[in-house]
Symmetry: C2
Subunit: 388 residues, 2 copies
């Protein structure tokens, strides 16, 4: 099986940029990835593109051909939609295509525009990631759903708002030096605790913002990298995907995310590693409680023990296992269809040593990306390693 | 490389069924496919699901986990969106996954609900397959776009409305015996010519209807079929995908569909066949002119010569090369996200000899499916063969 290398990575600035079109955003990320990759566009075999609500936000479906054109590519182009894990599945399929030998060079990533919708419409748009018949029509929103999960967690295992405030504070601290982040400012634990409630027990700083942005990766086979003498030291050595019932009410637990358990098991197995081998991770912290559940599904902590990890300094920038050194969805931002790709962009740079936060992980060799859709009805996990 | 076999196929009735939910429709198609396949659901490694406008039609994104649940599957589930070629790309990725050895059993298909939107909203919904900024806002609709293509074709090569009326009449005749078809009635050439115009030179019977429905396929590796003694005589031996600029105004020709040329070239190459080896085909006749362009891209006819094929009896049920024996999108119907899968369902049954129209092609061994998105900005071509 061919090893898959990350030849180049690109992002746009994450933030409020409602005046920019989707094609403009994705083209910028793709151009940045090609500038980083030293791969001619004519060599690209496929574009795998993630987007969630473009049909609502831009009245634009069928975006894959549009994005191929915007990026100057002439190759089969496919859109993947898996709610907030859209780019995760796009990257995963790219990895599988390259390692199967079907392709040597695949561009993967995604884009989302959300701020042009306005906050109310963006929240309504996001809600279509939940079950319309049994959740949305009953009044559910994502802040409400994650609030239920947080409350159930506190009831089952203990922990509380202060623990979650430490997650928010940590991720904001990490974003300060990230030039792509939406919120490059510190938030203290007290500030997070004092912020207005959005769905008790979650308050404002427990939630990620509404973000516009794009991500792109140029993935190549090891053979292609060698033949073209590319500087591509990071390999994707494992990819896993899991699926759960869509509605929260159809799950066995509110405090577990088995889709992510499954995705992690596959990815670890493929890479031949376990959670103890991981030096750092980017996880899907759409809400602070989601980071806690993610780190437990990834096996970093036993169920019920992830809640105190930020507070105890384990997952902070200089802790034993830094989580979301990019700032995470929380502070870097969450352009839904781009997020799964952007996590891998960040980890690639952190492992290569050219990320502002690489200084916190100078010897890191193994990293994990965890991208989730909805209330983790979908999850994708990737393992990245510095190639020997 | 593993050969990919079609172990089972399933459809719902195509037609107006606005009272049924999407999950209900897809579950029925999947249950039919499992009833046909004799494969336990626990063996399924992945669900690849196509859907186009569920975010608009049902306020439901993130449909893949929902459909997995509805079909009784617990496996990674992914939604593909490529406008009217959504199920085509879902099937294509399933074929590639199975033959790479990544999976032994993949369920692929799709679903679309459209009639609950009403005709006006369905037409508006479909228009998001075109370029919003440069086409939709200028007033373009798909009937208008295909009318431009038809007019350009007549100008460049000759032919006219009567030739297209023969395409409509042929496909309606083919649908009469198809129990899944939306319109099981004959339409004479005169009736088609006399129907009201929708976008000159296209009249009512040049356009496919607004359809609700679903399709599902159980695809397995040859090794799995052998080990489980499955009756799965049809193999998918080639899959190709092509992409073109999204907006019609950004193309070199109005009378050519290079995305389909590219898809066909790849699919033929993989299968080791050429157009002369093909015994029958299902092509994407969303409009009658689209069937003509498809048959030219597939190499059945030289550019400018496909227009008279139905009129000359070449592509009729008892002609040399029957096209759209199912009735096609024209008469069988076009539930957008399901269509690419349903074409392969029909061809599988036609090749197995258990389709009502198999009597027209008793010795057929090689079939081609052509599925297109938008004005063929995307195209997917599959080659099916009776396994030796």
């Amino acid at each position: 099986m061919t090893e898959v290398r990350v030849a180049g990575v690109g992002l746009t600035k994450f933030g409020r940029q409602p005046e920019r079109t989707g094609r403009d955003l994705f083209a910028e990320a793709a151009l940045n990835a090609f500038a980083d990759a030293d791969v001619p566009r004519a060599d690209v075999d496929a574009l795998n593109y993630g987007n969630f609500i473009g049909s609502l936000a831009e009245n634009q479906g069928h975006q894959a051909p549009l994005m191929a054109e915007a990026a100057g590519l002439r190759c089969p182009a496919t859109r993947y939609e898996e709610a907030c894990a859209s780019a995760g599945v796009a990257v995963r399929e790219a990895v599988r295509t390259v390692r199967s030998g079907e392709a040597d060079v695949v561009v993967a990533g995604g884009m989302e525009r959300m701020n042009n919708l306005g906050t109310g419409d963006a929240t309504a748009g996001l809600s279509i990631a939940a079950d319309d018949l049994f959740e949305i029509r009953a009044g559910m929103t994502f802040p409400g759903a994650y609030a239920l999960m947080a409350r159930a967690y506190f009831d089952e295992y203990g922990g509380g708002r202060t623990d979650l405030a430490h997650v928010a504070s940590k991720n904001h601290a990490n974003a300060v030096d990230n030039e792509y982040a939406q919120y490059r400012r510190e938030v203290t634990v007290e500030e997070a605790l004092d912020a207005p409630p959005i769905a008790t027990p979650l308050h404002l700083f427990d939630a990620c913002p509404i973000t516009d942005g794009a991500s792109a990766l140029v993935l190549v086979s090891e053979a292609y990298a060698d033949a073209n003498d590319l500087d591509a030291p990071v390999a994707i050595t494992g990819t896993g995907q899991g699926t759960d019932n869509l509605a929260l009410g159809d799950r066995e637990h509110l405090t577990r995310t088995p889709a992510a358990d499954d995705a992690a098991a596959t990815a670890y197995d493929e890479a031949g590693i376990g959670p103890d081998d991981v030096d750092l991770a980017e996880v899907h912290d759409c809400f602070t409680i989601a980071e806690v559940l993610a780190t437990e599904s990834l096996g970093f902590f036993a169920p019920g023990e992830g809640i105190s990890a930020a507070r105890d300094g384990v997952t902070t920038a200089d802790g034993d296992l830094p989580i979301n050194l990019s700032g995470g969805l929380k502070a870097k931002g969450h352009p839904v269809g781009a997020t799964g790709g952007s996590q891998i962009v960040e980890l690639t740079r952190l492992l290569r040593g050219d990320h502002p936060n690489s200084r916190h992980v100078p010897d890191a060799e193994v990293a994990v990306a965890h991208n989730a859709g909805g209330t983790v009805a979908s999850a994708v996990v990737h393992v990245l390693e510095v190639a020997r």
